[in-house]
């Protein structure tokens, strides 16, 4: 709730696919739940973070993992400032679908959307099917930031979300995002303090394939 406090707010939307609910839960609640409910529809998460002494609220949208969810994903891209593109390092097929997801994300978002590539389940190194180098190469080729995370051990989870938020924030400061256009996923929050206009940014993160969460 945005009442009362003069905290600039940035919201982030995540549409994830692979271990997405776990990733989100790790970020928002700092816990790992090996058995997570099957997501029906969209679930939501939010967390306040601090960037440059500014309180920013990330709003995260986590869609159901049902395959070929693209049509709904698209409508969320449109309202998102950022996206996490997530695949499962233990399942090559989820990596193979990245191109498609990326194209979709690029096509249906505004051109400034920040996209980060995440290879999740880095704790399961013994079952790894996708090499780290492959992820890096894909990210380099498409101009994405890359990171391997583990929702289970929390490795890099914080960094993944916060780095994405930071990049969005920088873009806002550079004036790349029009904060008055909500289609960019950024919404001016309640203005309670002079000069401290709240910034709400919707960052979408699109997941790769594969509903199997963890």
């Amino acid at each position: 709730m945005s009442d009362g406090h003069s905290c600039p707010v940035l919201s982030m939307r995540v549409l994830a696919g692979v271990g997405k609910s776990c990733l989100l839960l790790q970020f928002t609640d700092k816990r790992f739940q090996p058995v997570h409910d099957l997501t029906i529809g969209v679930e939501f998460g939010a967390r306040m973070i601090t960037i440059d002494n500014k309180q920013i609220k990330l709003q995260i949208w986590d869609t159901a993992g049902q395959e070929a969810f693209r049509s709904i994903t698209r409508s969320y891209y449109r309202g998102a400032a950022g996206a996490l593109l997530v695949y499962d390092i233990t399942r090559r097929e989820t990596f193979n679908h990245l191109t498609q997801w990326l194209e979709d994300a690029r096509q249906h978002s505004n051109s400034n959307m920040v996209i980060m590539l995440i290879g999740n389940k880095s704790d399961l190194d013994s079952r790894r099917e996708v090499k780290r180098e492959e992820g890096e190469a894909f990210a380099r080729e498409h101009g994405l930031v890359f990171m391997e995370t583990s929702a289970k051990t929390a490795a890099n989870v914080e960094e993944a979300f916060i780095n994405t938020a930071r990049e969005i924030y920088e873009k806002i400061q550079e004036g790349v995002f029009d904060v008055h256009n909500e289609a960019n996923g950024i919404k001016i929050g309640p203005q309670h303090s002079p000069g401290g206009a709240g910034l709400t940014s919707n960052q979408g993160a699109a997941g790769g394939q594969g509903g199997g969460c963890c």
Binding site: V35, L38, I72, G211
Partner: protein, 786 residues
Amino acid sequence: MAASLTTATPSRDAVRIKVIQHSECEVDSQCCRFSVDPELTGYEVLRNLIARAFDLKGDYQTCYLARDDRFPEACWVPLLSDFDLEMAFVKSADPYLLVRVDLMSSNGTWEAVTSMDIPKLSLPDLPKNNYSVKLPGLFKEKMEKTLSAVQKVLSWNEEGEDTVRPARPPLTDSEFQQMLNGVGQLAHPKELRLCVYHGGLEPSLRKVVWKHLLNVYPEGLTGRERLDYMKQKTKEYEGLKAVWQEHLQNEELVSEEVKYVTNMVRKDVLRTDRHHPYFSGPDDNANIQSLSNILTTYALHHPSVGYCQGMSDLASPLLVTMRDEAQAYVCFCALMARVHSNFHIDGVAMTLKFQHLTEALIFYDEEYYTYLRLHQADDLLFCYRWLLLELKREFAFDDALHMLEVLWSSLPPDPPEETLPLLEVQFNPVKVERPVPPPTPRQNHFANVCALRRQRSSLSNRSAECLAAILSRRAASMECDGPEYTAGVKKLSRTWSQPIDTSQVRARVPSGETAMTVDKIREESSSPEDSPSRNTRKIKNLREFQLLTKVRDSDSDSNPGSPLKEKTICKKSKDTNTKLTSHPKTANSSRRCFSDSDATDVGVPVYSDGGEVDVWQNPVATLSPEVDQHLQIVCQEEKPSNVQQLVPKANGEHKQAEEEGANQNTMTASVNSCEEVTEVTGWQVTMSDGGSPHVTSLLPPEEFGGGNPFLMFLCVTLLLQHRNHIIKNKMDHNELAMYFDKMVRQHNVTKVLGHARRMFENYLKLDFSKIRSKTTPPGSSNDHSC
């Protein structure tokens, strides 16, 4: 995160809470820790959490350890309200908020089982449910007293809680036996439902009675016949299962479809109710495999439905209750016969439910709706799970069993004619050459519903007008729907009081079929290619449906330019279920075939081929026989006048329809995906000639909520219960959705059912015939109080 914790500002996003429990009669105290979002957690929510964490069965008080810089000595301060809790969060939450729970009761009956312990009790047949209905009932009654004080302050319920009627105690075995006659036939099906509706069932009775409530048995079976029937069904199921299981073992022949379905199902059953002892433990738990078998068998033998996420949630309570895979499958088929349309890819049935829920909310609490509209939450998308799973996940598992049986009992009995079909079409994996449409990516009904509803919300200032337009047209349409309305009212008002003649029951359609009622339906003429019993009807008014069906219109209609062209609706009646002759075409052309590797056909709807079963069933056609009988048997005196009314008003209606049709020419002619649905916005402008979003009437029970009116009242109750908290905290769409997400499995079943029952009963008292004649504006302020 760390920063916000150390500064202890109110804007932190999580507060750690440690709860310790003291009891007068127990020496040892317990403690548990958890984190909450201070912005989302009110006093009531916290109490709920605590009650669940400690499985409290009695009244209790809470206090917290107050820490203040000025007073170094910490002291216990009562925690009695939202205000107290807010202060506690602000002042005393560093490093964690320490809450003490003092049990009030001296009987010491509370169970010291925390929720964390439950999964460890992995004995599948543990008779753990024996106390679970009675004691929580007692506890909740007590708790309600406590909560009523809070609620009076919040005043979401103007009547106050003291008017809560004590629910009937759960139906016992001996009571049930009295409803059977000498040979074990169920002699009093309506009384059975009435009792269960008011009080639920003793858990031990569920295995037997659920099959009656779910309409598994044809009418009139004796006890012996029921046993034989289930034996027969079990055998049938084993056969159906064997088909795909043998097929799966044949490495060379195994089709992509079987692989796909089994993989999808596998992923989902591993995430379904795993906290329940029945499904806990390792992933190779045999019960999980059973659940998977049920869903796979259903999906492969019901090609028009297939497998969709959410089905595992529906099947799980059935399996847990039946403790038998085959019997659970039979129950699942019976349940799906009513709700399968919710899973159809076009999202039509879900959209209809959303629309009715919106109308109900406007009807009962316009101010609340206006609030939601202002906060872009009027699409109510956060209720999606509620509607799809019929609230199964909104209550703790055992509470959900209770809620489900009450919900099923609110529906009139609807036994299968001769036998419950366990398949739509035989799955035949060997015939690989069958004409399969090019694989399309799996469209999601949620996607469609979302696109449609978001579209409204995004133009929220228009959506009210658009809704008003819909409603005003509905008012007009009611004039021509006279007999059905009458019949509906009579039917429902008599559901509990008067045994219906067997012939009527046989003529009755499954309630799931009547679920597909539209706002405006008008008989036009008989379609030449349809059987005589099927009619061609035009369906207007429901914009979403129009948009969606336009696709098929443009495929099949020779006159695609007119948005008002005749729409042929296939009446999907029982014979389509029982006579397989009608299926091959359906099955082949609409069998969903998905492929992960397919990446090109993005957004192509699966319903574009003409052979698919139309989920939009014709309620007039399906109701007609019954309508007639009712008119003759039940309300003969009303029949003539209504029929006379019907004719002229139908004509007037026709004119209006054409005018509307002219307006709709601005609409895009075809909608190929929800992507495009989202972009078709022209129609909203054409509809903006309405007034304020005031709903003066609700649909009659056989239409409302797609034939499940009580579900609407349960949902409205959930919405209303949190109304003041939501408004007070100025929650926006996201926050609302998160708030309700976090309430998963935490709603108070007794309270919700009690309130919903009251609303439902008052709703049934509404005089729908008056609404129909439009002589007086109904649903005025005296109805407003639920």
